[in-house]
């Protein structure tokens, strides 16, 4: 299991040594005098825990029967933070109530907690801008989210400014560093130590929303502004942010397995009544008043909250069960996270799922992996929920409605109808007594794709093995000799297809020849093509065009009838490129080359029409004709009847004009 081994903070990151600057030293001195401050953002500003967080903010979700924000505050306090500003947005009252009752707000708490609530926060950026506006902070501060679980000792002492991202790569590229490291084994535990400037920077850059924006901004502009981001890779200690259910699962099981020592379930650090429990072998923890039925087995890593009763012959492993739950007989729980006041009837099997407060699971229900039953849902009896089912009392559509609060009433009416319909449908899936709606994570809304794509259980569990192997196969099949093709040839080919595409679009969309010329010119520069090549390619493309339109087997007459209008339409394009005498010869050479390949279609008609359209001039044609063909074929080509006639005609015309 990777997570606990790799708990140091920081996402993939390149090694960048801290250059302790003068400013840094000055701040260190200040630190001793000033109380250490922290900003705790008790809102995630995303919906990864939706729909669970609809009823309770993420910071208050229980992890091993303790609200997550308590872990964060415990961590801050043990690091020596004396003043914490808790910023709440979503359900701020609940958070306030919770904290008011907790030990953090008692008079003897070493960590003074201040609340700042506002409904207008939409992102971390808003919070920090508010921090700056209110001028709350005097010195360096710790920035954490309300869902960070950590036992890392005094990160403040590392004195580094904070963490970062793989954007560094860009910088190292630009820089002169000889060596850099790419890490893929680090976990960002979202604990940042920021200087007061960070808040100012957020104010200055009002478009920064998240920490990633900030990090990217700093890294890009670092050299100009002299701001630095440092990274401390903790070698030991534990730190993680519960950012999705996958992390929730992982952190919970680490907690029970005592990897986060000294924070353990039985330590009751929150100092609340009813949270204490005893620790016995195989990491089984029991709160007070737990009753266990006859023959029920608690294999290992089980935490059971206060006053919960469990029926007979159950089999429980790797699970957390909250307080005041009633669990029936013959129940199998594995990696199940049962919160408080849950009723589970007999013969239920739950695997790697989350069951929130007040849920009722009727008899015979089977929850496959990665199910979520949100608050007060009812499931059963005798249904099997497939993998990844999410059930909530809230209708999935409510979410949208909430977002557009300005929607008129009639929309709501429509929505109500839909609700009823869905309810009827759901009864099959949720059982006859079931209550709630099934949230389909697969029905991705385009607008929220980003968030829902990593919804709830996160992406980690479902890596797409196929796409990976595909890319590998394609890369692997990289033939050793494949690079030998000279890029120049390639360019010409690409250019040819581009020209063809341009002309085709020109035909379809009726684009004027001037614009076509413009496009071809820009292509010419893009692929670094000489003027001569442009003409060759253009000629070729045009002559090939009938084949391209109608397929390769055309009779000569069909070909000519198709080609002539094309020539006529594109005559201005040609004229733009065929100007000097040499151009004429080149153009004719290309025509010749083309017809050497397609002898059957050869006829003077092309030349004639080109002449009539003023693309080609008489002199050019005559000179071309007088050039003896180098090969037999081209000699043969010149002996074509039609051509001879045409030449003759030209000669006569010339004489005639001279005589005139």
């Amino acid at each position: 299991f990777r997570l606990r081994v790799l708990s140091p903070p920081g996402p993939p990151k390149t090694a960048k040594q801290g250059r302790p600057g003068a400013r840094r030293a000055a701040v260190d001195q200040d630190e001793e005098e000033q109380p250490l401050q922290a900003v705790l953002v008790a809102d995630s500003f995303n919906r990864r825990f939706f729909p669970v967080t609809k009823d309770q903010p993420r910071a208050l979700l229980p992890l091993a029967n303790v609200a997550m924000i308590d872990y964060t505050l415990e961590f801050l306090t043990s690091t020596g933070v004396q003043e914490t500003f808790v910023f709440c947005c979503w359900m701020s009252d609940k958070i306030k109530d919770h904290l008011a009752k907790s030990k953090w707000c008692r008079s003897n708490s070493s960590n003074t907690v201040h609340f700042i609530t506002s409904d207008t926060y939409r992102s971390l950026g808003d919070v920090l801008r508010d921090v700056d506006a209110k001028a709350l902070l005097r010195s360096d501060f710790i920035l954490v989210y309300g869902d960070v679980v950590s036992s890392i000792d005094t990160p403040a002492k590392t004195g580094e400014e904070h963490l970062c991202d793989d954007y560094d790569l860009q910088r190292v590229f630009a820089g002169t560093s000889d060596e850099f490291e790419i890490r893929h084994d680090l976990l960002d535990c979202h604990i940042s130590i920021c200087s007061p400037q960070v808040a100012e920077l957020f104010t200055d850059n009002f478009d920064y929303q998240t920490r990633n924006d900030f990090v990217r901004g700093i890294l890009v502009n670092e050299e100009i502004l002299g701001n630095q981001i440092h990274l401390h890779v903790a070698k030991d200690g534990y730190g993680a942010r519960v950012s999705n259910l996958f992390m929730y699962d992982a952190v919970s099981s680490d907690m029970i397995r005592r990897w986060i020592y000294p924070i353990t379930p039985e330590s009751n650090f929150v100092d609340e009544e009813g949270k204490s429990c005893t620790h016995s072998r195989h990491n089984v923890y029991r709160g007070t008043g737990v009753s266990l039925g006859h023959g029920s087995q608690m294999e290992e890593n089980v935490l059971i909250g206060q006053d919960t009763s469990i029926g007979a012959k159950g089999h429980i492993s790797n699970s957390v069960i909250g307080a005041n739950c009633i669990i029936g007989d013959n129940v199998i729980l594995d990696r199940a996270y049962i919160w408080n006041n849950v009723h589970i009837a007999d013969n239920v099997a739950i695997r790697q799922s989350v069951v929130c407060d007040g849920v009722e699971v009727k008899t015979g229900v089977i929850l496959k992996e990665q199910c979520v039953l949100a608050f007060n849902a009812v499931v059963g009896p005798d249904v099997t929920l497939p993998e990844g089912t999410v059930v909530s009392l809230h209708h999935p559509d409510e979410e949208e409605e909430e977002q557009d609060e300005f929607l008129s009433d009639h929309a709501e009416a429509g929505h109500n109808k839909a609700t009823k319909k869905d309810k009827a449908n759901n009864s099959k899936e949720l059982g006859t007594e079931g209550q709630g709606y099934i949230w389909k994570s697969s029905s991705l809304d385009h607008t929220k794709e980003d968030e829902l794509a990593q919804s709830l259980w996160g992406l980690v569990l479902n890596p797409d093995p196929e796409s990976d192997s595909e890319s590998e196969a394609s890369e692997g099949s990289d033939q050793p000799g494949s690079r030998t093709i000279s890029p120049e040839l390639d360019d010409i080919k690409v250019f040819q297809t581009e020209v063809q595409g341009t002309l085709q679009r020109g035909l379809e969309e009726n684009i004027g020849c001037d614009n076509l010329v413009l496009e071809i010119n820009s292509l010419k520069y893009a692929y670094n093509i000489t003027l001569k090549e442009v003409m060759q390619i253009l000629t070729r493309v045009v002559l090939e065009y009938p084949f391209f339109q109608e397929g390769a087997d055309l009779s000569t007459s069909q070909y000519n009838t198709l080609l002539l209008p094309l020539l006529k339409g594109w005559a201005p394009v040609f004229k733009n490129y065929v100007k000097r005498a040499q151009d004429h010869l080149n153009c004719l050479a290309s025509i010749e080359e083309f017809f050497l390949e397609h002898e059957a279609h050869w006829g003077a008609l092309v030349l004639m029409s080109a002449y009539n359209l003023d693309i080609l001039e008489e002199d050019g044609i005559m000179r071309w004709f007088s050039q003896e063909g180098t090969t037999d074929k081209s000699k043969l080509l010149r002996k074509n009847q039609g051509l001879l006639k045409f030449i003759q005609w030209l000669e006569e015309a010339e004489e005639y004009s001279e005589g005139d």
């Binding site: 000889d178 060596e179 790419i182 890490r183």
Partner: protein
């Protein structure tokens, strides 16, 4: 015999035509020894008794044991190839494949290094690698190079070399020139080796240990013509490709068959035992997941990176000058050849080398310089930081600084030569001055 050595000495030295115009690259004197002596000496030191030298006809004629000044135990098997037709190093290796019975150590004739060669070979053995190579920190050439004004252009393409946390497994290789937009690293590599260090500023010493089956692979894939340019990058990439092959991809199937089933090649017993050992052993090359050692990969590339020590590839004029400066430290012979005649009132620095049968006259000072065999230096001459090849005559009162004087050149009286390259058999007229750096070689 575990490894056969193959020495590539057919290159024309196209990046230092000034020097190779008259002298073939393998025979260029460095510290009064032909360049090819250094790799041969390297092999000799670690006990190679035979070496296959691939070179051209012209060079072959000159490759007498006498010239090479080897101790004579080495058996040289010189193979000639035609220079025309642009043969690459891989082509050359293919050319001698019949002589190759075991794994090979391929090295280039322009390598001057004091590496402990066993470090590379040990890597190769320890991991049963397909390929092990040598790299070194790139040296900055600080000295002024004749004919190059100002600093060297910074536009050189960097090589990016990715190694794992131990710094030995070669995971990734790319040249800046091949990168279009940024460095792309495949996820599968990062998953297997989560901590990758990308290094630049490394010099590829062009010394490779290759498995026998890689040579076989080369024989079958005639389109690979260069070892450094094509084969090595291919092997490095191949390490992380899926072993499942597409049926139409003949290359890969063959490759993997070669890699997996070397059984046909007579080493059947060894392979079988090796597989068994790997199965039974609890040793693993990585932590963090439960997959078998090397993640089951059959192709493995390793690199030994010299953090200190001497390692030069003499393929440019700058490297040539630098190598000459380092040479006295590498050669155990006395710096002044016994047959050289040096008059008493002469200063010869300890960091200078004087070749056989030289005549150095009075009141001359020679510092940090190399004077080739049969050269004559007359009175009141000052030579600093310079290289004089064989048979050079320097008349009275000359001042030579930072220059390269090729064979049989004659420097007239009172010439003042700074940072110049004088072509072979050139005469510099008495009292002439070649002051400027741009005053460059005049070859015959």
């Amino acid at each position: 015999m575990e490894l056969q050595a193959v020495l590539m000495a057919a290159g024309g030295g196209s990046r230092m035509m000034e020097l190779t115009y008259n002298t073939h690259k393998p025979l260029l004197p460095v510290g009064n020894k032909p360049l090819i002596w250094y790799p041969l000496n390297l092999l000799e030191r670690v006990g190679f008794e035979e070496v296959i030298i691939i070179t051209t006809k012209d060079v072959q004629k000159m490759l007498t044991p006498d010239r090479l000044k080897l101790d004579g135990k080495m058996k040289l098997d010189v193979v000639c190839i035609q220079l025309e037709g642009e043969m690459g190093t891989a082509d050359a290796l293919r050319h001698v494949q019949q002589k190759i019975k075991t794994d090979v150590l391929v090295l280039s004739c322009d390598l001057i290094t004091d590496v402990a060669l066993h470090e590379v070979v040990d890597l190769f053995r320890a991991h049963n690698a397909s390929m092990a190579m040598l790299m070194s920190k790139l040296h900055e050439f600080t000295e002024t190079v004749p004919g190059q004004k100002g600093k060297k252009k910074a536009g050189e393409q960097r090589d990016f070399v990715g190694v794992d946390a131990t710094g030995q497994r070669l995971l990734f290789m790319a040249n800046e020139a091949d990168l279009e937009d940024g460095l792309t690293i495949r996820k599968s590599i990062m998953c297997k080796h989560p901590s990758m260090r990308i290094r630049t500023g490394l010099l590829d010493a062009h010394l490779y240990c290759l498995k026998r089956c890689v040579v076989d692979f080369l024989v079958e894939n005639k389109n690979i013509s260069s070892i450094r340019g094509e084969l090595i990058p291919y092997l490095v990439r191949k390490q992380f490709s899926k072993s499942v092959n597409l049926p139409n991809n003949k290359d890969e199937v063959e490759m993997s068959q070669k890699m997996e089933g070397q059984t046909n090649l007579g080493s059947c017993k060894d392979e079988e035992l090796l597989r068994l050992t790997q199965e039974r052993s609890c040793w693993n090359d990585h932590h963090g997941d439960m997959s078998e050692a090397y993640h089951g990969g059959k192709v493995r590339c390793y690199v030994h990176i010299m953090e200190d020590g001497v390692c030069y590839r003499v393929n440019t004029l700058a490297a040539y000058i630098e190598a000459n400066r380092m040479a006295p430290k590498l050669i155990e012979d006395p710096p002044i050849h016994p047959s050289a005649v040096i008059s008493e009132c002469t200063q010869v620095g300890a960091d200078s080398i004087i070749g056989a049968s030289c005549q150095i006259s009075d009141k001359t000072s020679i510092k940090r310089s190399t004077v080739g065999a049969s050269s004559t230096v007359r009175e009141k001459v000052k030579i600093t930081n310079s290289i004089l090849m064989n048979g050079v005559t320097v008349e009275e009162g000359c001042n030579i600084q930072g220059s390269v004087i090729c064979s049989n050149a004659v420097i007239g009286r009172n010439a003042d030569i700074k940072y110049c390259l004088v072509g072979s058999s050139q005469r510099i007229e008495p009292d002439g001055e070649c002051l400027t750096v741009t005053q460059n070689a005049v070859s015959v």
